[in-house]
Amino acid sequence: MLTEFFQWLQDSQIATTIREDGSYFPWIESVHVLALTMVVGTIAIIDLRLLDLASRHRSVHRMVIEILPYSWTAFAVALVTGGTLFASNAVKYSENWPFRAKMLLLLLAGLNMALFHLVTGRGIKNWDPAVRSPIGARLAGGISLGLWVGVVACGRWIGFTMNPF
């Protein structure tokens, strides 16, 4: 069922064009890399703040407000470009283990973030910058940092375990 969907995806006009005319792939991939460095970098800045390792003069709340919109914008770009690259060879990517691991780690990073926003970070506005972040917040920051390192590593490994052409 899923394989049929991937097959249909890679038979689409746009996927076929990217696969057959090699000149599109590097450009889309470059935008993908640029977007993902912004996603990982901006999230790491917030994670390091949650861990009290950086930016301690600025409240977590303020940092989340001013940085997260950029993370989400970059994530949207990474998602669209990544989805396009995936479509160009959907069946092969879906069978590639680093790709699968990357998707799993992304899912976990999303869950970790949702948990933080819905539970741990509920009182975020009232957190005192002079006091250490609550243990739940530090945990969320550490887990996030680890997961994103994993996402980048798996992403890089895709390139070494499968050739898109």
Binding site: P26, E29, S30, V33, L34, L36, T37, M38, V39, V40, G41, T42, A44, I45, A54, S55, H57, R58, R62, E66, I67, Y70, V149, V152, A153, R156, W157, G159, F160
Partner: protein, 168 residues
Amino acid sequence: MTSLHEFCEWLGATDVSVGIQTVNWIIPTVQTVHILCIALVISSAAMINLRLVGAVARDEPSAAIAQRYLPWIWYILPIMLITGTILVVGEPARSLENPAFQLKMLLLIGAISTMLIVQRQLRRDPLFWERSGRRRLAASGLAWMSIMLWVGIVFAGRWIAYLQTAAG
């Protein structure tokens, strides 16, 4: 006369280079660290630049933002250079002779210089870039230049992989 090509051949034949080439997890691992470093540097630079153009944290002076993010850039750049050097030693011809790599190094010099100019003026006077309309305009100009340079660095970096065949 020793040419760049001969140097690459010599470097590629050294034990260290052969070691990096044969142990197949080294390159992807070093590349992963390299990309993570770029992520932190580019995002830190982006925060400073976005403040200079007035897009974030306008309740804080530029100097405060620079003080928060510049140390990360200066501490992480050496790790970036070390991991980059390991990749060059592992694949000298693929990188040194590659026009994308050469362009990347030029853009990097530009990006570092731009950051140094911003930092230098802020050290002299924390309000330097906010003192007049003309200064604010200059700060915006530098910030946009910095953003473009970093975007160029990432693009050129990714293109090293695609221009390698052309460079031999």
